[in-house]
Symmetry: C2
Subunit: 276 residues, 2 copies
């Protein structure tokens, strides 16, 4: 593992590291915020999965999350959103290929060789983090934005017992019914929908649901609102009697200004679960 | 004036606007955060002047300032750091020309036609803001980072009565004795130092000082520490018996991670002065 940068930040350290990924077959970069408390022992971990076009860096610099993580003594992990590099396939569209991994394992050419973001986030990166940093991997929670909200919700439900709480900002909630989902699943998994994995938050909510607290914030003025499937997920939550909170925030859009506004609430929400 | 974008943010609005500047002879862009309270009447104003290479956008997206401005009901102005455009002279160096206006009025070719950042910030932009937005221009304070800290300190001292309080993150404090200053003053004002204006915070502190509270944070691990002249300014502050606080923050560098860490303190410091 290589240290790209380390900056003092809210009494802790905001680091950026890269490593050779076996699941993605390329070098992968991630951000990690360690609060001051990590100098004295392992701290709980909050994952933040980012949206389309983002790298590890957007949330690290724009969301103001470190302030609240420092207050609660929680580490933050900011993974990249896809494999990257000259040898990694890409597409001219912003929503396919590099920057658009969708947190699934591709099975179709040309994507299958590198686009294994499910395995990377669910297995490889947690192993590396637990071995390399003072993190208490028994206490993990997960959050995400847009495509990363899809990742957070599906990981939380498909990996029962892994995460104590899940939250999302403007998540893609029903990708099998949206242009943000069908296009990518078709490319990464092929056109045969029977072979699409259970990576749809609404379908997972109709099945197992999530055994823990759940929080979602979505803006009423989200410019991508029609692509998110919030209504289907809300109905599934209500039908399931899933404990959780869905807030529609008046006037907010899809931007990091929206995320930053409610980040304090999300980190406090996860801290409650991580310190119980 | 043209609206570039407006995003809901911490209960208020983060806007970006452009206008044709008479002082800089080009279009200029600025960011303005208006807190929720501005819907009910004029609110006090905190200026933030940014550093080398920055546009209006860096502090707007990376410093977390809106959270605290919203808490205190204060507007934030984020000006650009220089004139810009294809017709505006530039230099290949990062620290001269576009992105490096140094908050002074150039007198030398090719800079003099556009590089009038002193007049722009001290006269033109305040007039435009007061006419166009619900701002109480009788209650202004100023803050800045690096080159913008130089701008904030020199504006505060050279315009007595204008600003109720001044603060800075890692400010350039003694530019007439630094490579961050001598190079630009020579280019913009010419080699004859007798014609350099009184735009050096240490010299101004040795003269009038500042009639109000002053706060400076600079990191002990600032990678540009030798260029800032903090020691000269500290000595001048002490000699002058200038009321104020200079904090050397252990382990912090020159980055926005440092700025974000102490932004809450700076906004609260200005709020104290603006609401007195």
């Amino acid at each position: 593992m290589k240290t790209i940068s380390e900056n003092r930040c809210f009494g802790g350290t905001q680091g950026v590291y890269s490593h050779s990924s076996t699941s993605c077959n390329c070098d992968m970069t991630f951000g990690l915020f360690l609060p001051e408390e990590s100098a004295y022992g392992p701290v709980p971990v909050l994952w933040f999965l980012s949206g389309l076009t983002c790298t590890h860096e957007n949330v690290m610099t724009k969301a103001g999350a470190q302030a609240w993580a420092a207050e609660h003594g929680i580490a933050l992990v900011f993974p990249d959103t896809s494999p990257r590099g000259e040898d990694v396939p890409d597409d001219n569209a912003y929503d396919l290929g590099q920057g658009a991994g969708f947190y699934i394992d591709a099975t179709q050419a040309p994507w299958a060789q590198h686009f294994k973001m499910w395995t990377y986030i669910a297995e490889e990166l947690p192993g590396l983090l637990g071995d390399s940093f003072p993190l208490d991997m028994e206490r993990q929670s997960i959050c995400g934005h847009s495509m990363g909200g899809h990742g957070a919700l599906t990981m939380a439900m498909a990996l029962p017992g892994r995460f104590r709480s899940v939250s999302a900002f403007a998540p893609i909630c029903n990708p099998t019914q949206s242009d943000w989902g069908r296009k990518q699943f078709t490319a990464y998994w092929g056109a045969d929908e029977s072979k699409w994995g259970p990576h749809d938050a609404t379908l997972l909510m109709q099945g197992p649901g999530f055994d823990g607290p759940l929080l979602i914030d979505t803006g009423t003025d989200d410019q991508f609102g029609d692509l998110l499937g919030t209504e289907a997920f809300a109905a599934a939550m209500a039908t399931k009697r899933q404990p959780g909170t869905l807030r529609l925030q008046k006037g907010y859009d899809h931007s990091y200004f929206f995320i930053a506004t409610f980040m304090e609430d999300h980190v406090a929400f996860h801290a409650d679960a991580l310190y119980t």
